[in-house]
Subunit: 237 residues, 2 copies
């Protein structure tokens, strides 16, 4: 289902020129409504909105369980926030266990934040902060490694914030978290038709393995296996 | 490093004819030495033994943490055990939280267990049980699903136990666990050169997506990102 209709009252647009200040931080439950909208937008980008089944409640359950997995082991969302004014020095450690990363970008062209109310950050008292994009990842495992790695599930930026180099900051932050916390790799899949995305990951140092194909058992094909439920122990697979 | 030299004293071989009894169960810490040997063998299969860095201790840390993740969320190993004699009815629930699955196979040719001592199961009092293979998987997440799925990392059988249909039992058991516990998919990657494996997964109902490629940031390319360690908060990605 689609998020509430998005207002585009241009009178409230914020135009950022010169410098844009960014902060990367771990998402918290207070970001749910923004994550819900960003996940909807990535469905739009792929023409998949008919498949968008999430609700804020199901996302809360997926991303912010009462008894969360250890830091970075469960599903983890990093948000990139932007502001026309500088961010304060982050506290040494936040409640979320990850110290936010800040970076200032010099803008070659003005950036227009056209959905001020919809994407205003609720994280702290600074009121001119907007959510620009996210990275989504979680711990993965392999018989070929003696330690966990990360599976990098998706990276997304709202249209206003593309082509600014922010993707490198966000992916680079995930890679830094991996390298600095003993995770041995950052893996994922990339669409071959998305040349910009493909080249981006290669430039970030990702090695592409042409000899593998991604496969998925899902939908009806998966549910066929549910019939074993009552026969568990009888072994009639 | 290679496991201890494997004795091949044929006098202790066990030849199984007629029927072979199998049991699929969740691995426990008592299976560590067997998992270690099976992981070594899958490295041999891929000519990767020079990359095998695991020790029984590192595997214990990877697979059997003191404070484990919830059932099936962390790295999970299902073992397929074989025996020339029937398995007892499994207890309704085991300590591990998964009720073992049994299946009997009619053999068209004799099966020789040539490493009786190396792969004798230590799981229960039944002494004629041998570890034949494993499946390795863990929970994964996607912005395109409102619930977790499984990532199916690897499936491996010792040479004596191939071509018997046991792969279907093991993969089917993982699929059943997914379908019966609200996990929405079983995903993974498959090598295009491994036609037998590729066809196996397609026959099991797996949809292959030709438009994706698997990529990995690892080794030196990943360690380049570690320099941000001391600059966390300064944002110099």
């Amino acid at each position: 289902m689609a998020p509430e209709a998005i207002t585009t009252d241009a009178s409230s647009d914020v135009t950022i020129t010169g410098k844009i200040y960014t902060r990367v931080r771990l998402a918290t439950k207070s970001d749910l409504s923004h994550i819900y909208k960003l996940f909807y937008q990535i469905h739009e980008y792929h023409n998949y909105t008919h498949l968008y089944k999430a609700t804020e409640s199901s996302l809360a359950n997926l991303l912010f369980k009462e008894n969360p997995l250890p830091l970075f082991y469960g599903p983890s969302v990093l948000l990139l926030e932007v502001s026309p004014t500088p961010f304060d020095e982050p506290k040494t450690t936040t409640n979320e266990g990850f110290k936010p990363v800040r970076k200032t970008f010099d803008l070659k062209f003005p950036v227009v934040e056209g959905q001020v109310e919809e994407f205003r950050s609720k994280y702290d008292d600074k009121s001119d902060v907007y959510i620009a994009g996210y990275a989504f990842f979680y711990a993965n495992y392999s018989c070929f490694y003696d330690k966990p790695g990360f599976y990098f599930e998706s990276l997304y930026f709202r249209e206003s914030y593309r082509k600014l180099g922010m993707g490198s900051l966000l992916f680079g932050t995930v890679a830094s978290i991996a390298a600095n916390n003993g995770f041995v790799s950052v893996e994922g899949i990339v669409a071959v038709w998305n040349k910009k995305s493909y080249d981006f990951y290669v430039n970030m140092g990702v090695e592409i393995f042409d000899e593998f194909r991604y496969g998925k058992l899902h939908g009806e094909n998966l549910q066929k296996y549910a019939h074993n439920k009552d026969k568990n122990g009888e072994g009639s697979c």
